[in-house]
């Protein structure tokens, strides 16, 4: 894995433990609809108790992958193993897996209580047990006083919690969530993200969530799989995905990034020297890709890792790009600067506004210098 060499400390990382058996295993799974390949040869291990995100733009195959886990679609090729047993041909109603739908899919003709009890009734659980478990799960999602209401008598956030309760009440081995927070407004969504994390931690059920919202994925996940055109581009923890993206696609999809093109001029022990006409300077960067002298590489720079200054750095070996302030966005906590470099390309940088008054504020058309440490830039091959 990309990040395994770096000193990322984690309390809990079963994916780095070779002894640990994966909870769900996808073995070269593909799904084709006619000529269209929705999911292309995916291999993936998900561990028990994980909060795993499938992240990607719409049409990248993430929902199809989730639907294959639920049993609504059968893989055209490959195998899905749940706790070691092959799920091929097992219909959705016989899988120990539940799903929370994007539209919530509540039964409009049933009360909240009956909606939640529906799954237990299918299993012919005794009445007393059904009542008890419905009550427990209603308590968990804080909807106890709404048990008798019909879905159309609830607000959007309450419906979302009913859907969650209904999917959780059967204590599935794995819970699949298809864009669970997509229909909520921003504030409620942020609050619900933390609620989801708490519930997941409390129950210890493996959660697999599909989302196109990178912030949501970063907040809730133990690991994220970034998908593109039916393939998985990178699987890693949120930190690793952000700090050590393995491709320009991942770097660009998660957060903002400036990508600078250059050529390797010297390969050192732990660092590379790169000549870049776009930046107008020589760049020193940590060795991360296997690139020989003369190879074209890209340096990904996160806006917040660039330091902006009106004075040129004293040390001429520092990584430094010079340009002119083109635009400023003041967000309160942050200021965003768009800098036009001498080579003509635009670079974005973000600075925290640490003090309330600045002696010499940076303004439009100032000549500024952007510096960064050799560790801050990510060298990417493709």
């Amino acid at each position: 894995m990309a990040g395994s060499g770096h000193e990322v400390r984690k309390k809990w990382d079963p994916w780095n433990d070779p002894q640990e058996k994966p909870h769900v295993q996808l073995l070269s799974v593909s799904k084709r609809f006619g000529d269209f390949t929705a999911v292309d040869n995916i291999a993936l291990d998900i561990y028990k108790g994980e909060f795993f995100s499938l992240l990607g733009p719409s049409g990248c195959g993430k929902t199809t992958l989730l639907r294959m886990l639920a049993g609504f679609e059968q893989p055209s090729q490959g195998q899905i193993l749940l706790e070691g047993s092959d799920m091929a041909g097992v219909p959705p109603y016989r899988r120990p897996v539940n799903m929370m739908f994007q539209s919530y899919a509540l039964f409009p003709h049933m009360s909240v209580e009956s909606n939640i009890a529906f799954g237990l009734k299918q299993d012919k659980a005794p009445k007393g047990e059904i009542a008890q478990r419905v009550e427990e799960v209603l308590d968990l999602v804080q909807l106890s006083s709404f048990a008798k209401r019909k879905p159309h008598q609830l607000s959007g956030g309450q419906r979302q919690r009913v859907a969650l309760a209904r999917a959780l009440v059967k204590k599935p081995k794995m819970l699949l969530l298809d864009e669970p927070l997509g229909a909520l407004d921003k504030k409620l969504r942020e609050q619900t993200q933390f609620e989801l994390m708490n519930i997941q931690e409390q129950l210890g059920i493996t959660f697999v969530i599909v989302t196109h919202d990178q912030e949501e994925a970063m907040t809730v996940s133990t690991r994220i799989a970034v998908m593109d055109h039916g393939r998985i581009v990178q699987v890693a923890t949120p930190t690793e995905i952000y700090e050590y993206p393995n491709s320009r696609y991942v770097a660009g999809f998660i957060g903002d990034v400036n990508i600078i093109e250059g050529r390797v001029s010297e390969v050192g022990e732990s660092h590379l020297n790169i000549v870049s006409e776009q930046s107008g300077c020589g760049i020193r960067a940590r060795h991360a890709v296997d690139a020989p002298v003369g190879a074209t590489v890209w340096i990904a720079l996160r806006p917040e890792k660039l330091v902006i200054s009106v004075d040129a750095p004293a040390d001429t070996t520092t990584n430094c790009m010079a340009g002119e302030v083109w635009d400023i966005g003041y967000l309160g906590n942050l200021s965003i600067y768009h800098i036009k470099l001498d080579s003509g390309i635009m670079v974005t940088t973000a600075q925290t506004n640490r003090t309330r008054d600045v002696e010499r504020p940076i303004t439009w058309e100032d000549r500024v210098y952007l510096t960064w440490t050799p560790d801050a830039g990510i060298v990417l091959g493709q």
Binding site: P92, V97, M99, F101, A105, L154, Q158, R166, A167
Partner: protein
């Protein structure tokens, strides 16, 4: 807005409504006529209603009509619901458009042609004409109305509701009865009501396909009118008008109440945190 109601609007209103309802009002009035002559007013009386209930022929016809309407609309609802659901379920197979189009075709087919073709078929399979044949004929033409109503309901049906039921452990067959049917039930019921009414109304197809002993009420009325309009016919028609009007009134009140309840619930939901 009262200013807008000039003499012109008033007269337009009166003229329009008279055009629609004057014939029916006359019919109702003359059903209470003492005189046997339909067009001459001879004082108020309800004797034609009393006589009506002694007219065994008319009562028999009414009973036949109700039986035919009930059986045919129930069978048509069953078949129409199945085809309506299935045509939306099988999202794409070769010839789907053709099949959908063929469901609609009987809606625009001239009744005379439907009646004639059914008659030919019954003769070809040498089925004795009577209660059975007229019921089959009514099923044939009213089934497509049910299918259309159910299909349009299914078009806006969230398929993930069925998936959710299956995900929670419900087999596909059980899912239909536990989830799909209750949700589309209003459409199924209105399909049933529609085909019931259509069956009650029908004169043309019934006269082609019925036989001795299975004369429907519209046929009976029609044949009696040919011998001259009697106040008895006015009375039976007034009862029919009354029944239909009551039905429409009840349906309107129920749907108003539901709308009001829904609106109240939605306001309630919006207030909650």
């Amino acid at each position: 807005m009262n200013k807008g109601l000039s003499w012109f609007t008033w007269s337009a209103l009166i003229f329009g409504f008279s055009f629609l309802y004057l014939p029916i009002i006359l019919l109702v009035l003359f059903s209470f006529n003492e005189s046997k002559l339909v067009t001459v007013w001879g004082g108020f009386s309800t004797k034609w209603y009393a006589e009506l209930f002694n007219n065994q022929g008319l009562l028999n016809a009414a009973w036949v009509t109700l039986k035919v309407a009930f059986v045919s609309s129930s069978v048509a609802t069953l078949l129409g619901t199945i085809s309506g659901v299935m045509l939306t379920r099988f999202s794409s197979f070769r010839g789907r458009t053709l099949f959908t189009g063929m469901i609609y075709a009987p809606l625009v087919m001239p009744e005379v042609i439907t009646g004639l073709s059914l008659l030919l078929m019954f003769v070809a399979v040498s089925l004795d004409r009577g209660f059975l044949t007229v019921t089959i004929a009514h099923i044939t033409f009213s089934m497509c109305y049910v299918a259309v109503v159910v299909q349009s309901r299914m078009a806006t049906f969230d398929h993930s509701i069925e998936e959710a039921a299956m995900d929670l452990g419900c087999t596909p067959g059980k899912t239909f009865f536990a989830v799909t049917l209750p949700i589309i039930l209003p459409a199924v019921v209105s399909g049933w009501l529609l085909s019931f009414t259509l069956s009650l109304d029908d004169l043309v197809i019934a006269s082609f396909t019925t036989g001795p002993g299975a004369t429907t009420l519209p046929m009976k009325i029609y044949s009696q009118v040919r011998l001259g309009v009697t106040p008895e016919i006015n009375a039976v028609s007034t009862i029919l008008v009354g029944l239909v009007a009551t039905g429409v009134l009840i349906a309107t009140i129920i749907s108003r109440r539901n709308d009001a309840a829904r609106l109240r619930d939605e306001r309630l939901a919006a207030v909650d945190p």
